[in-house]
Amino acid sequence: MSERDVTKPHDTGRKIPPIAISETSTLVNPTGSWKYIMPRYEDRVAPCNAGCPVGIDIEGYMYLIGQGRLQEAADLLVRENPMPAVTGRVCHHPCEDSCNRASLDEAVAIHSVERRLGDMILAAPPPPAPERTREETVAVIGSGPAGLSCACFLARLGYGVTVFEAAAEAGGMLRLGIPEYRLPRAILDRQIERIQAAGIDLRTSTRVGTDVPWAEVDAFDAVFVAPGAHVGKDSRIDGAESVSAIRPGLEFLKEVNAGGRPDLGERVIVVGGGNTAMDCARSALRLGADVTVLYRRTPREMPAIPQEVREAKQEGVEFEFLAAPIGVAKEGGVFTGITCQRMELGEPDESGRRRPVPIEGDTFTTKADTVLTAIGEDCDLSFLPGDIGTTWGLVEVDELGESTSATVFAGGDVVDMPRSVADALGAGKRAAIGIDHFLREKAGEDVGEVPLDDLRFGGGNVSALRYSKDADPIPREAPVNQTVTWDQMNPHHFQTAPRHEDHFHDAIDLRSAFGETNFGLSQKEAIEEAERCLNCGVCNRCELCLIFCPDMAISRREDGGFEIDMRYCKGCGLCAAECPRGAVTMTREGI
């Protein structure tokens, strides 16, 4: 019994019959020998991290925000994504589609938090340029997200990088294709300045193959090819070639995004269901036109980001589904509109979407002053030497972006299908790792294979932090590179909390306004939103395991983690069953 033992007979000075008194603890009993299975703290990968094409440690920066460590959160974000202020605005955020919280109430608004952190980063002066530690230089063709991402990561790895950009300003599709109301130019400019500040030599108005010969870029130790996809696909409208009112949507966007305000007339038809089509429609709307989007399948098959479609509808864009343009309508030789074929959905095609099939004889004519075609873009690869393999108009590369030619790597829209800013950023990061590995091997370093599976978040994209073996700001307990699923977690310990939705500009003011429509979240809201993160798979020291261990076998370690005393753990499994985030595993190993 304890020191303050009041039950001892001599204590009272009276005659009390002798009784047995325990004076030792049960700590002498090694009750842990009863177990046949034992717990182990094993952090896993959150599905958002695995679902991010860029390879961002989303769960990690959410954890840091939750701890009030905003600057560290921003540092971790930008460590993996060189342009968070851009992706926070324009990414299609597949992270949110994979967010486990959707099974509880609603996915965390990751993009809003990223945007807030991204803007916070932009408000501070850029960090000093990374030290140049490598002799080699790398040429990057194209300054879109893939090119700038690769350039940025290569500069951080110590290389000299020169970026060749055909347009007068850097940014690629971010500048040429994405309208200002989605991505203000001031944000893009500052983001690019920051990347440039990493010591990157940026040569604008320099088209490889025209302004400089291929041989000049080939003279670098390695080349990263990321010129993008700029050639609009043929509209397949009979007689369209001779009609100037039918024009490629991308060309129209480039004109508008460069400050042009073309007269489209009163009625505009946009053909296509992707993001270019949405951008065309909403830009045309801002030029004062009535806009209808013509799409040959149904809303379900639209490749555009659902949010973009929603906003387009809110702004007043009309949609005509299951219709495809087939011919030009003219009156007295003057263009008046297009004839369209009614479609129905047939069997699924190779993309898994149901194929549109014409309904025989069911056609209609619709009036239009201008028709913008946005049914996809092709790449102009004519500047590439013949020994670089291509398939279906795309450059063939391995997982680290290496083409069939040893020194040439490629990424972004010349490789990806489907295409996105996030995929381009991720490809740039992978290629930077591929180039670093290639050049080190070439320099005679014993580098072995790139441990690609270990670098990936679950099955997702690679982590630059892991590649550089930098210290992880998140304390991780024996991490296992597996994505944690909702059924491995215990939802009972979570409370529901509504998602913070972005604040939008009032739709009534939208026409003729190219200002940003989405204002995002306030700092306070973004922090609250980050606190909705469940930290899937990663111990955040909630201490439920300590409370529910019937054997008091778990104790706090000095460094903030926990320790299980196997002398006393009976292997009941309550810690693993009750861990809200699936960070404890039961195993028979080692018994």
């Binding site: 033992d5 049960t26 090694p30 909390a497 019937p550 005393d565 006393y568 009976k570 069953a577």
Partner: protein, 298 residues
């Protein structure tokens, strides 16, 4: 906020040592640990015969870091009354005395002593951790065993005939200042109730459902989940009764079918669907009575 951070609500120091002799996954030590965390070291424990007589450890050991008095089955409340009186006689009015008894020692064998002490409003906290049978001696039915359950004395061809005794109504009828139910699956609620009970003088009663993997025939790691389900599905509602008349629920009880709760326990394996419906009806009826008490008092 995604999760209540439990460590902000529950004291950190353990007054229960490892190496105790509870079965793996037992809820009883979790309950004891939470109660002692809430009460702190100025506590004495009276332990009539129950599982905890074993869990505490054989002589010369004790797993508690506070004084503990083993006593006979029927005497929990009487001995607690006496120890409290002794402490007061020595001038110690601050130490909390608890009687820690199982359902057998409370619902059956110790009920007379408990009723006597409660009627005199003796100054201690009586805590019943209820695993719904005499588990320590090999699973014999008690009057806390639910209708339809298998025990060794209510075999599957003739399972328990009687519904669980309404101990809360009995205690409320004594008009004691404070009575409450609690669950190991709701540790913050449990700790808050114990802390509240500690501030009150007179007889206080706490009834904690304590799932028992071997007796309920469940997996070791299901203990908390079943305790939680019992609350959510209104099998074991969490409430407080003040002065025997003011009834109050302390958490949400969303309700829903009890089928999963029953089917996950192999002690109910022999029940037909119709019999599960009977249990559901009983749960619903009791919920109705309880809701009425909450609304109108008794």
């Amino acid at each position: 906020m995604s999760q209540t951070i439990i460590k902000q609500h529950i004291p950190r120091d353990d007054l229960l040592a490892s190496g105790h002799l509870a079965c793996p996954g037992c809820a009883a030590p979790i309950a004891m640990n939470l109660v002692l965390k809430a009460l702190g070291p100025e506590t004495m424990v009276v332990l009539p015969a129950c599982c905890w007589s074993i869990i505490a450890g054989p002589w010369p050991q004790s797993s508690l870091r506070v004084p503990l008095f083993h006593t006979a089955f029927e005497t929990g409340a009487a001995v607690a009354s006496g120890i409290k009186a002794g402490l007061v006689a020595r001038g110690d009015t601050e130490t909390t005395v608890i009687s820690w008894a199982g359902d057998g020692g409370t619902f059956d064998i110790g009920l007379q002593a408990l009723s006597g002490a409660a009627e005199r409003n003796e100054d201690f906290i009586y805590i019943c951790y209820d695993n719904e049978a005499y588990m320590n001696t090999g699973v014999q039915r008690s009057s806390a065993t639910p209708w339809g359950a298998w025990t060794t004395t209510t075999p599957t061809n003739d399972p328990e005939h009687q519904p669980k005794k309404d101990i809360m109504a009995i205690m409320a009828a004594h008009r004691i200042p404070y009575a409450a139910t609690a669950s190991v699956a709701y540790p913050v609620d449990l700790v808050e109730k114990v802390k509240k009970a500690r501030t009150i003088r007179g007889t206080r009663f706490l009834h904690i459902l304590a799932p028992c993997p071997p007796g309920w025939k469940t997996q070791n790691d299901e203990t908390i989940d079943l305790a939680r389900m019992a609350v959510e599905r209104r099998v074991f509602p969490l409430m407080e009764v003040e002065n025997g008349g003011t009834w109050r629920f302390t958490v949400d009880h969303p309700g829903g079918s009890i089928e999963e709760y029953i089917r996950r326990q192999a002690r109910f394996k022999h029940l037909t669907d119709r019999q599960v419906e009977i249990i559901q009806d009983e749960v619903d009826a009791r919920w109705g009575i309880l809701s009425n008490r909450v609304e109108h008092g008794t």
